[in-house]
């Protein structure tokens, strides 16, 4: 309705304050209901049988003994999830990932499932299912999978994106390329060139809440699904398509979500739970164990990246090139493509080229993990940039400032930038007290930059004004970390009322129009845009009602500070009407007052951050410890600054874990050896220092308040910032993430031995 999303400077009243979140009390008292906290009458317990093999043909599955066990109400295999994907290759992959059809493609791949009266019976039933496997050779390493002799994971895949269509199938599903200029010529103009190869290991989002859902399919063809997800509308579409249901007959309610970070954007257990419920005729609760979460949900890619950067003596980069190989698990993906797009996005380059290769391996299907694919590319590029600065004898911050992208720069992946934050974050870092603090023996300082696109997407919001003047805001983007607070602030700002007058909820799929999921740092960006639009629509009605109450033309009524005000001398003694007063009369002035908004939130402003990190390395053990950490990031406009800081700190902490410790370790048998929090060790409280933050606000011109997404960028710089700090502390260049103690020690010893 003629909504103008462009930024307009304004003085904020609510936005930028730090109130307690509306869902807070429930979360500190144990009342908040997460995925596994919900139960239905007559509910069964679902369990999934998983392949112990990395790669195997499923010759036969005999479920007869399990079916006969007392208390078992349904047993399903791929036969109970027939292929209804109608040529949609991406959906077919999702289906096959939910339940293996002809081959088990990784350790943990689902092959059958049961629903029983209790967990003990369900576990017993799994043991009675007999699966006849023909074990095939497997491959889990990204570089090995690209070799010609590597075991072929899918013989129907021929590499896309090559000039000539290949004659042989390959584990490389796609080649993509980005850039501009002529890198060959550019390197010809370079006085110094750094060329390095890097590897990063696979990591998991590590959300503390395992995937959980309760599915209930009724004999009339309707169904309900309670689930922890980042996108219940997307889950509805996927589940409906895979089960042959009409989407509107499947009502999906998103529970409180115990962390997602991209990992709860894909269905795994949900179609299985629905199929079990359909077969058993009873609700089924399916909760993954932690072992299943590691083995069978979607970790990020392992990578192998080559980088080459050249610069003139004056510090100008003349050319930059990268080849990026990313694992996708056993199904096609676009992870290397994203890495290739982000790799050099921080810089102003005349000659740049990046090539990405998507690689199939016998590991779980890769899923998004916070700014997916960007941290690994940044690790490689920012390590090389640091090394090049050293060779040039330049300060690493000054070198980056000299080459930083600016407004009007054509980005390495194509678009021309608007106002951006890379230069300002670098200037802020240059002037930060952290950069001047003294270091002790065995300590080193590193810094690095990071970029993320941010996303907008389809968004729908309802804003309803009660007759008591309170406002309920129903949004469709799942609240993963405080967005109900930020969206309430935005609604309060626009309506001119107090934050406490509002209550925001996340509506289910039958109560609100379609919303894309909470990904791409879009939750607050897109839903605040829709909230502003909905509030403006409500204000239009409030003005109309006030005009009616006063019996004056609506054009003479304006909305100021939560009140309708009559403008013009002729209305001089009309005073003003509060939202509450107008709402109280709504029953006699035309009925309920509401504002709705449905939009595609275009123009998500790109995001940049620069991090500083101090590391102490123990030269005897190779253990590295973060001593001090600072995040500087552009938020556009920080709606709720405390939660913005929280996003910065959380991303940094995840990056620290990734840089120093976390990795999927596969045995020669292709089985995951550390599928638990004891052996896959994420940072604990005693591993970390306080994480300082500095919020910059460079308004996004495509949002009324200037908001940019803030959730993801903070995980992009840490790998490189820490690698640069370790390099400065230990005098060795680390090229393999994670920089676990054995890797650092080996590098130190190799350096000593020369």
């Amino acid at each position: 309705m003629n909504f103008d999303p462009r930024f307009s400077g304004r003085k904020f009243t609510s936005v930028g304050t730090r109130p307690v979140r509306p869902d807070g009390v429930d979360k500190v008292t144990g009342r908040a209901r997460y995925g596994a906290d919900f139960n239905m009458a007559g509910q069964l317990v679902g369990r999934v049988l998983r392949s112990p093999h990395a790669h195997a043909v499923i010759r036969k599955i005999d479920t007869s003994k399990a079916e006969k066990l007392s208390g078992v109400k349904a047993v399903i295999t791929a036969k109970d999830l027939p292929d209804l994907t109608d040529g949609d290759a991406a959906m077919y992959d999702i289906l096959d990932n939910c339940m293996a059809r002809t081959k088990a493609l990784y350790d943990g791949h689902a092959v059958a499932a049961v629903a029983a009266i209790d967990a003990r019976t369900a576990r017993q039933a799994l043991k009675l299912i007999e699966v006849d496997y023909e074990i095939l050779p497997h491959v889990t390493d990204v570089d090995e999978a690209m070799q010609h002799h590597a075991p072929l994971i899918n013989d129907t895949i021929f590499t896309e994106g090559l000039e000539q269509k290949p004659v042989k199938p390959s584990n490389v599903t796609k080649r993509s390329q980005f850039g501009h200029g002529d890198v060959h010529q550019g390197f010809g103009h370079a006085d110094f060139i750094v060329e390095r190869s890097f590897k990063t290991e696979q990591t998991h989002q590590g959300y503390i809440e395992p995937h959980a859902c309760v599915a209930s399919v009724s004999s009339d063809g309707t169904a309900e699904l309670w689930v922890c997800t980042q996108g219940h509308f997307v889950y509805r579409q996927h589940c409906a398509q895979l089960l042959g249901m009409e989407a509107s007959k499947l009502r999906v309610t998103s529970s409180e979500i115990g962390g997602g970070f991209g990992g709860k954007t894909h269905v795994w257990a949900e179609p299985v739970a629905l199929a079990l419920s359909r077969k058993a005729g009873r609700p089924v609760k399916l909760v993954m164990t932690r072992d299943e979460v590691f083995r069978a949900s979607g970790p990020t890619s392992a990578t192998s990246i080559d980088v080459k950067i050249g610069a003139r003596k004056d510090g100008t980069i003349t050319a930059a090139e990268a080849t990026l190989r990313y694992t996708c698990g056993p199904y096609a993906g676009s992870w290397a493509e994203i890495g290739a797009m982000t790799a050099f996005a921080c810089y102003r380059l005349d000659n740049v080229k990046t090539v990405g290769y998507e690689v199939l391996v016998n590991r779980p299907k890769t899923a998004a993990y916070r700014a997916p694919s960007a941290p690994m590319a940044a690790f490689a590029v920012e390590s090389a940039v640091d090394e090049l600065a050293k060779e040039l004898g330049m300060d690493p911050v000054e070198f980056r400032i000299k080459n930083a992208a600016q407004e009007g720069t054509r980005s390495s992946y194509g678009p021309v930038y608007g106002p951006i934050g890379i230069g300002p974050t670098l200037e802020a870092v240059k002037n930060h007290a952290h950069m001047k603090a003294p270091l002790k023996k065995n300590q080193g300082r590193g810094m690095a930059c990071g970029f993320w696109f941010n996303f907008g997407g389809q968004t729908c919001v309802d804003l309803n004004i009660g007759m008591d003047g309170s406002v309920s805001l129903a949004v469709g983007t799942v609240d993963v970390g405080g967005s109900r607070a930020s969206l309430s602030l935005v609604a309060a700002e626009e309506l001119g009322i107090d934050y406490s007058q509002l209550k925001a909820i996340v509506a289910d799929t039958s109560s609100l129009g379609y919303n894309d999921m909470t990904d791409g740092s879009r939750g607050t960006f897109s839903s605040s845009m829709a909230t502003i639009s909905a509030a403006r629509n409500a204000i239009k009605i409030l003005r109309e009602r006030a005009a009616q109450m006063w019996d004056i033309p609506v054009d003479d009524v304006v909305w100021e500070h939560g009140h309708a005000v009559a403008k013009g001398d002729k209305h001089g003694n009309l005073g003003k009407l509060s939202l509450k007063e107008i709402a109280a009369k709504s029953g006699t002035t035309g009925g309920p007052i509401a504002g709705h908004s449905e939009l595609v939130a275009d123009g998500a402003g790109v995001s940049f951050a620069t991090h500083i990190c101090d590391i102490e390395v123990d030269p005897e053990t190779g253990a590295a410890r973060v001593i001090r950490y600072t995040v500087v990031q552009d938020a556009g406009k920080a709606v709720h600054p405390t939660y913005v800081e929280g996003q910065y700190q959380g991303g940094a902490a995840q990056g620290i874990g990734w840089a120093l410790n976390e990795e999927y370790i596969y045995g020669k048998d292709g089985r995951l050896q550390n599928a638990g929090f004891l052996d896959y060790r994420i940072p604990v409280c005693s591993d970390l220092p306080m994480i300082d933050t500095q919020i910059l606000e460079i308004p996004n011109p495509n949002h009324p308040y200037g908001v940019r997404g803030v959730g993801e960028t903070s995980i992009v710089p840490p790998l490189a910032a820490i690698a640069n700090a370790v390099s400065n502390a230990a005098g060795v260049r680390m090229t393999h993430i994670p920089m676990s103690p054995p890797r650092i020690l080996a590098a130190i010893e190799a350096e000593r031995e020369g």
Binding site: G24, E256, G259, T642, G676, F677, V684, I691
Partner: protein, 158 residues
């Protein structure tokens, strides 16, 4: 009938239940008693999301059998507030935004309560090591540590 009859005290109330020999205290709390504040993040004692206090000792309820609760005194997150009066730690967690997704929060609150009961004036390092058995993936722990510091300060003055 293989159930074991258990009589115990939970948040000051006498509670009786039947449980199977292989059921954990966490299973009993969540599935039999409807006390879903304690969460199962791992089931192996590595994440602390299921933390409860048994006879003044902080434990992972996923590592305790339901039958072992016989005659014990158990405190869960549901017992921290008095009516509508939040515990100081709960209030400080809200004020400092020490939670994002909130799944680890009940475990952290219980662990912090236990910590402050034993050490009312902890240093930052003592807080960090005291809470090292609880995993949080959202916050980077910064705001959690600050909330506990603030709560300790207020509780000392009380």
């Amino acid at each position: 009938m293989t159930g074991i009859a258990v009589s115990t005290t939970i948040n000051g109330d006498t509670i009786e239940y039947l449980c199977q020999p292989d059921e954990t205290l966490l299973d009993v709390l969540r599935d039999r008693l409807g006390l879903t504040g304690a969460k199962e993040g791992c089931g192996t004692g590595d994440c602390g999301a299921c933390s409860v206090i048994v006879d003044d000792r902080l434990v992972c309820s996923c590592l305790v059998l339901g039958a072992e609760a016989e005659g014990r005194r158990i405190e869960t997150v549901e017992g921290m507030a008095h009516g509508d009066q939040l515990h100081t730690l709960q209030q400080k967690f809200l004020e400092h935004a020490a939670l994002q997704c909130g799944i680890c929060t009940p475990g952290f609150l219980i662990a912090a309560k236990d910590l402050l009961a034993k050490n009312p004036d902890p240093s930052e390092e003592e807080i960090r090591f005291g809470l090292a058995g609880n995993l949080c993936r959202c916050t980077g722990y910064d705001k959690i540590v600050r909330a506990v510091q603030d709560a300790a300060h207020v509780m000392k003055g009380a």
